[in-house]
């Protein structure tokens, strides 16, 4: 059972959608030129063959026409006007069945929906072929404490926030911060929900109207979440928010030199793979990695650098070098 298979090629998906759309509503049909444009991919010879067959341009002696579409008033319509039934593959069903067993799935779908899906999957004739089972996998999580506790309150708040984001509405939240301060009924414009797989936690990235800058609030610290009105000029808010985020992005990257020893390149690349990095070979058996980061990621970067040990050396900027050096000196003195 191959995951990478021809039936998932994007051209198959495109034509399925095209035929089904035309069968339902032939005003959605395209001309031959529009069809060529929509079908992605450069014009390589095998792709050209596909297009010729699809548009029935062959003379049927040496090469076949597909005979799937026909031309009427310049538009390409399905010859056989019957829709393509859409069915999930075993890989998709196995995966869905697996994630439905994750308690976080209850944050997204109602119990009745979940039951319908589970029933359908358990009655599937191919169920015994589903290879994704928890007992086959060991997740080396960082701590058993990192498990999202899904209370009723959390679930309701989560759904309210998702609705607000989708409907472009503001929210009223009560946030109890880490230090114990309580901010009651803050009006915020929600941006997105951030999920951390390492710690199994959600944070709301938003714009409180009283503070007027991007803020992140842990979902478990929120209570009394209520939907507000639609945000006036939502696109304006989005571009303004993203501009503010850009301002928090440091212009000067952290530049580190990595020694080509003990798989240091590999460990380093993995640790920083979620950052915007730029690497090049320095030549003397070392690699330079420039890490572009948001101001609030600084502590994490420093921790990762200490984590990687002496295979990695910070080259610039000076304030980061100084901070790393002071950490190292303090640690050296503590253990001697």
């Amino acid at each position: 059972m191959e995951l990478f298979n021809k039936y998932k090629n994007k051209n198959f998906a495109f034509i399925t959608n095209y035929i089904n759309s035309c069968v339902n509503d032939d005003s959605l049909a395209l001309t031959e030129d529009e069809l060529r444009t929509q079908l992605s991919g450069a014009s390589q010879s095998s792709f050209e063959e596909f297009l010729l067959a699809l548009t029935n341009a062959y003379d049927n002696i040496e090469s076949y026409n597909a005979n799937i579409l026909y031309s009427q008033d310049d538009l390409m319509l399905p010859l056989r006007q019957i829709p393509i039934p859409v069915r999930t593959s075993i890989a998709e069903k196995a995966w869905l069945y697996y994630i439905l067993q994750n308690s976080k799935s209850d944050l997204f779908i109602e119990p009745a929906t979940k039951q319908k899906l589970i029933s359908a999957l358990e009655n599937d004739i191919d169920q015994s072929r589903y290879p994704i089972k928890s007992e086959y996998i060991d997740f080396r999580s960082l701590s058993p404490d990192n498990k999202l506790s899904i209370t009723n309150e959390l679930s309701v708040n989560f759904k309210t926030i998702v609705s607000a984001i989708k409907q472009h509405r503001c929210l009223f939240v009560t946030n109890t911060t880490f230090s114990g301060q309580i901010y009651k009924d803050q009006e915020v414009y929600p941006y997105k929900l951030e999920y951390s797989a390492q710690f199994d936690s959600f944070s709301l990235s938003c714009y409180p109207l009283d503070i007027k800058r991007p803020v992140k609030m842990n979902l478990s610290n929120l209570s009394a979440v209520k939907l507000g009105d639609e945000i006036v000029d939502y696109n304006g808010f989005l571009s303004d928010f993203e501009k503010q985020l850009k301002n928090i992005k440091e212009k000067v990257p952290v530049s580190i030199k990595i020694r080509n020893q003990a798989e240091a390149y590999d460990r380093c690349a993995y640790l920083f793979s979620s950052f915007d990095t730029f690497c090049y070979d320095k030549g003397d058996d070392s690699l330079i990695m420039n890490i572009y980061y948001y101001r609030f990621q600084k502590d994490e970067i420093i921790r990762n650098i200490l984590f990687l040990g002496h295979y990695v050396k910070v080259v610039s900027p000076k304030n980061i070098v100084d901070e790393v050096v002071s950490n190292i000196s303090a640690a050296y003195n503590a253990c001697c």
Binding site: L3, F4, I68, T88, I99, N102, T113, L142, L308
Partner: protein
């Protein structure tokens, strides 16, 4: 005018994902390599095949995420880097590369002829009803449809599909004047060709094999869902495929849901493609590179499920490819670095190993390994009713008890670390220990002091974690002299590196 087939021309689509796996991973992780560097690192067989691969990657990946830049070093040409900024692009653009498996035009014709044969028995459609208006002939009576749940044999199918193809040809001639070819349907839809494709489709699960010689279309698992419920399932799918250890089946499912919604809940969409839209979530430490190995992960899971042995090529640390034949027992997902492994029994060396998924290629089932050799490491007697997966779990637990993260070792020992935090930092740092403690025990002693103890197989594996706490962490030199000495040496090396000491 028909074009002749040019088999030496560049092929955009590929047969095996192995062809782009290594370069894609290298470009994503390190970026910025010239073609000469890649050939030198054996990531490309030659300069010309490098150009082919480069062109493929440019076609597969949305240009927004693939940045070209000129290098300052003279003599080197364009270099690439993949963009990653979780705020600007919360999409998994590497997943798009899985939509480019090659096919021949016959596969395409077969698939669409086959799928347009199936009809809903409650709303039995007349596929050629419109023709009566267009060319005065009556085609709508042709009985060439198969109900969704109807079981058919290969021979039944061949007859039906030939009728469909011939009818389409005749119609194309009547409507657009394009001449048909009477022999074509018999050349296209021969018994071996149809059987092979039906078996492929049953293997994938679009068609199901109901008994020895009969098949039918697989069930519609969304049949009882309303449009709104399906929208919720879509958001669920998009969330989970972005943060699950296995992305591609979820990515495929997301596309299938779009196709299904377009077909059943007529929605107006601007684009027919499922462009990854995920305005609601973004992901912290979202590491995309594991997607590149998803088909290997899937193959390993499938082997574990079916208790199969596998053979593959493994790239060792020195860079050369080793042939391996193993029995995979457990998939292991590391959250520290984001790497993926599998625990297995190696038949050649008769030992248990941890293999990195990203080093594996050309994986197939090892049919040459049969019982009793297959389970030679199992001491208990194996019968038809033995629950092999229970034994797999037992073997794994025995070998993996007390492991901190991944590293296994001969003996276990207990590590004791003393933490001291200044008042302003105490709560934050304590929380950090709690969320990264693995199976260790925390004891708060008051006055900013915290003791941490854990029994592990490999003490050295804790070193990076301890280093992350800088001066706050001191290993107890009495209980763990070797570990304490190692930390001391590490800090010394770091001091020398910055020129603080000689």
């Amino acid at each position: 005018m028909a074009k002749t087939k040019n088999t030496h021309a560049f092929q955009n689509d590929i047969k095996h994902y192995d062809k782009i796996r290594d370069i894609l991973r290298y470009l994503y992780m390190y970026g910025s390599s010239s073609k000469e560097e890649l050939v030198e690192k054996k990531l490309s067989k030659s300069i010309s095949s490098f150009y082919d691969t480069k062109q493929r990657i440019e076609n597969y990946i949305d240009g927004e995420y693939l940045q070209e830049h000129k290098s300052k070093e003279k003599g080197s040409g364009k270099k690439y880097r993949f963009m990653y900024d979780p705020f600007i692009c919360p999409v998994n653009y590497l997943a798009d590369t899985y939509q480019n498996c090659s096919y021949v035009i016959d596969d395409f014709i077969f698939y669409f002829c086959l799928m347009q044969v199936f009809t809903d028995p409650d709303y039995r459609q007349k596929p050629y009803e419109y023709v009566a208006d267009e060319c005065g002939k009556e085609y709508y009576e042709i009985d060439d449809c198969i109900d969704y749940m109807h079981e058919f044999t290969i021979n039944d199918l061949i007859t039906t599909i030939q009728i469909v193809f011939d009818t389409n040809q005749a119609l194309l001639e009547a409507l657009n004047g394009i001449p048909g070819n009477d022999e074509q349907s018999e050349l296209l839809f021969t018994l071996p060709k149809v059987r092979a494709r039906i078996q492929e489709l049953s293997d994938i699960g679009i068609i199901v094999n109901t008994s020895k010689d009969t098949y039918r279309l697989s069930d519609d698992i969304f049949a009882d869902l309303e449009a709104d419920e399906l929208k919720d399932v879509q958001l669920l799918t998009q969330f989970f495929y972005n943060c699950s250890f296995l992305t591609i089946p979820g990515y495929y499912l997301s596309a299938t849901i779009v196709e299904y919604a377009q077909s059943n809940f007529i929605e107006e969409t601007d684009s027919f493609f499922n462009k990854q839209e995920n305005p609601v979530f973004f992901y912290k430490n979202h590491r995309l590179q594991n997607v590149i190995d998803d088909d290997i992960t899937w193959a390993v899971l499938d082997a574990i499920h079916n208790t199969n042995a596998i053979q593959y090529k493994y790239r060792t640390k020195c860079g050369f490819l080793k042939e391996c034949t193993v029995l995979p027992i457990k998939l292991v997902i590391d959250y520290q670095y984001g790497r993926q492994y599998f625990f297995c029994y190696d038949y050649a060396y008769k030992v248990f190993n941890m293999q990195r998924l990203s080093s594996v290629s050309e994986i197939t089932i090892a049919r040459k390994i049969k019982r009793p050799q297959k389970f030679e490491f199992i001491s208990e007697k194996i019968s038809k009713d033995t629950d092999l997966h229970r034994i797999y779990n037992q073997v794994y637990s025995q070998h993996f008890e007390h492991v901190w993260n991944i590293a296994m070792s001969e003996k276990a020992s207990t590590v004791l670390i003393h933490f001291t935090f200044p008042e302003g930092e105490y709560q934050k740092q304590l929380n950090r220990i709690k969320s990264t403690r693995h199976h260790g025990l925390i004891t708060e002693l008051g006055n900013g002091h915290v003791d941490f103890s854990v029994t592990v197989q490999s003490e050295l594996e804790l070193v990076p974690w301890i280093r992350g706490y800088g001066a706050y962490a001191v290993v107890d030199a009495g209980t763990n002299p070797d570990l304490a000495a190692k930390l001391k040496t590490d800090w010394e090396e770091a001091m020398k590196q910055y020129g603080i000491i000689q």
